[in-house]
């Protein structure tokens, strides 16, 4: 039996969805994109181009929910399937779009560079429990208008895992071209999606020009989208969990309607990054237990609607890799996974998604590993009848080399890597009495050093470079930063 957790019963889910649909019918959504609005108008929505506002109908919502696929797959740079977003399958992805990276040498957060990003991409390649890359932080050494596509460019050159990414500009063409180069053609990219793009509505009930353009572009190119609605309970959303869920549902449904109206059948993920608002510090704690409850709640709603789900739980608001970092990330990872979120974002992230720490990513990889063990649950493995095993125990006085032990040891016990200290005190002291941060730091160095170069065809690599250099020239840069890290 797969262990699961539920916060909402079907009756409450139905009420929340009904309420959200009612809001879309009555209060409607603002969409700063005339093309999208016209398209919705063509499909029966009531639109007002002058105020860039629309009220959705039950018919358009139902049609969208009908064509949105209940599952889809992601494929790595080499074209191998890595993700099956269906049922209760769970995959972890590093948190994304931090503005700072934690400097391993100084322990301070600072603006990241190309070299930092390459180290990150190489590291992710070696982390067993992290299935995808995210464009985790924003290299500050390229023109601002390129920062979204440049992250993707580096990811595709230095790691083979698929990429969860996003765009903050309307320049989707570079992002599309880079992916098509890797796959070989638009058709092949559609056949084997390489990335998933996060697109965020603005609370309450609004899609900006860039976000709605991203939805339009992704749908037209059949690039999967995860909707990241971000209600902030008590500030930019009702203070209650249920109220925040109603808002999240309405915003996410409106996104689904846009994508499915543009291109019925385009793969979408019911995601989000809600948070409570901590009025004491004017912050948006992602590690708050109520934040995690909203996350689990909307995952249940997404599942009720038969859609793949994503959540932003496995991370922390701590400023350092400390006890708070561990407890918040561990709790979030376990809750998100028990709720059955297909894609769980967050590992590596500190400080309200402002900072990514490579050391934390190594530690979080262990949290993900333990979470996967948790999800396997308790299952009988040759435990009935038990008498022969206990007879062996009584005869040999121990079971340490029993066939039963050897056969099931690694299925039953997930032994973590070196960052999780399970030595006794003397052995720990003999090994230098190191802290988790110190071990994680050596692991980062080891994994970056041992990273294998990508097997992506050299010709395609050259095409990626050529495309990015062309974009850099248009953005006013003489050359791209060195990539010899």
């Amino acid at each position: 039996m797969r262990p699961t957790i539920r916060f909402l019963d079907d009756q409450l889910i139905t009420r929340i969805i009904d309420e959200a649909r009612d809001l879309l019918r009555t209060l409607g959504v603002t969409i700063h994109n005339q093309e999208v609005l016209s398209l919705l108008g063509d499909h029966g929505a009531e639109i007002d181009l002058s105020t860039e506002h629309t009220r959705l109908t039950d018919e358009i919502i139902d049609a969208a929910l009908k064509t949105a696929p209940s599952s889809f797959q992601l494929f790595d740079v080499m074209g191998n399937q890595t993700h099956d977003f269906s049922g209760d399958n769970v995959y972890f992805t590093p948190g994304s779009a931090a503005v700072n990276v934690m400097d391993s040498a100084t322990g301070d957060a600072r603006r990241p560079t190309t070299a930092d990003y390459i180290r990150y991409a190489k590291l992710v390649g070696g982390l067993k429990h992290i299935a995808a890359q995210s464009t985790a932080f924003i290299p500050a050494d390229v023109a601002e208008s390129l920062q979204d596509s440049y992250r993707l460019f580096l990811s595709l050159l230095f790691c083979e895992k698929p990429v969860i990414t996003g765009a903050f500009t309307k320049n989707f063409d570079i992002i599309r071209d880079l992916q098509q180069i890797v796959r070989g053609s638009a058709e092949e990219l559609k056949e084997k999606p390489l990335t998933m793009i996060s697109v965020c509505p603005t609370a309450p009930f609004k899609w900006t020009e860039a976000a709605s353009q991203n939805l339009l572009d992704c749908a037209r190119n059949s690039v999967p989208v995860e909707y990241i609605s971000m209600p902030l309970s008590g500030f930019m959303a009702p203070v209650t969990v249920v109220g925040s869920l109603i808002q999240h549902t309405a915003e996410t449904l409106s996104g689904i309607v846009i994508s499915q109206t543009v291109n019925p059948g385009t793969p979408v993920v019911y995601g989000g990054a809600p948070a409570i608002f901590d009025m004491r510090f004017e912050t948006t704690p992602m590690g708050a237990v109520e934040t995690m409850m909203i996350d689990c709640g909307y995952v249940e709603i997404g599942k009720f609607l038969n859609l793949p789900t994503q959540t932003y739980t496995a991370m922390s608001d701590a400023k350092l890799l400390d006890a708070q970092a561990g407890l918040e990330t561990g709790m979030g990872a376990a809750l998100g996974a028990l709720a059955g979120a297909n894609s769980i974002s967050g590992p590596g992230i500190l400080d309200f998604i402002n900072t990514l720490s490579l050391e934390k990513l190594v530690v979080d990889n262990e949290i993900c590993g333990m979470t996967f063990r948790l999800l396997e649950g308790i299952q009988p493995r040759e435990d009935f009848p038990s008498q022969p095993l206990f007879e062996e125990f009584l005869r040999d006085k121990h079971l340490i080399i029993a066939d039963h032990t050897r056969k099931h040891l690694r299925d039953e016990i997930a032994f973590p890597g070196p960052t999780i200290d399970r030595a006794n005190r003397a052995r720990w002291q003999e090994r230098g009495a190191v802290t988790i941060g110190q071990i994680a730091s050596s692991e980062v160095e080891r994994l970056v050093l041992e990273a294998e170069p990508t097997r992506l065809d050299k010709g395609k690599q050259a095409q990626l470079v050529e495309r990015m250099e062309r974009a850099a020239l248009s953005a006013g840069m003489d050359a791209l930063p060195q990539r010899d890290a």
Binding site: K397, H398, I400, I401, T405, R406, L409, N424, A426, R427
Partner: protein
Amino acid sequence: MDILKDIAASLMAGDDKKIVEEVNQAIEMKMPTTEILDDGLIAGMNVVGEKFRKDEMYIPEVLLSARAMAAAVEVLKPLLIAEDVPSRGKVVLGSIQGDLHDIGKNLVAIMLEGAGFEVVDLGIDVPAEKFIETALEEDASVVGVSSLLTTTMPKMKDVVDLVEERGLSGKIKVLVGGAPLTEEFAQSIGADGYAYDAANAVEKVRTLVGRA
């Protein structure tokens, strides 16, 4: 020689059947006994030890390798005796008087046997005299004393004192261990060694018998 590599590989894989065939084959090839032992078995066991230290192999696999080692040594035994190659050593083990815990001590016994040592296990609640008498009777050079309780720890000193009283210092070495113990405590009672876990006990016994 390939056969020695095969022996080392079987040892690492813990295959006690294949290793016996290979050792017999090496004997038929008139390979020197010490070469089979040193370059086949012990070379393989050294890799096992290294992997165990790096957390690449776990206790069950180490013990399986040890079982394969024991099976191979059994085949070599008549030749080792004929050639007068000394045994790996004998250890007397027990939980100290007043202490009824034995899980840790049992794990030490399993690991020592696995490493090729002979073990005389006296069980729990063992008085100091019993350790020494048994060591003399069995011609054991190491006495391993275990304690789980802070209340029974002081009794361990009796064993060390008795060794000294009887003029056996250097001949019988006392190794202590148990959850509440520390290196400092072991030194304070004058023990010859302290082991912090069962795998460490094997290393310490090897050092004490001069076979490290």
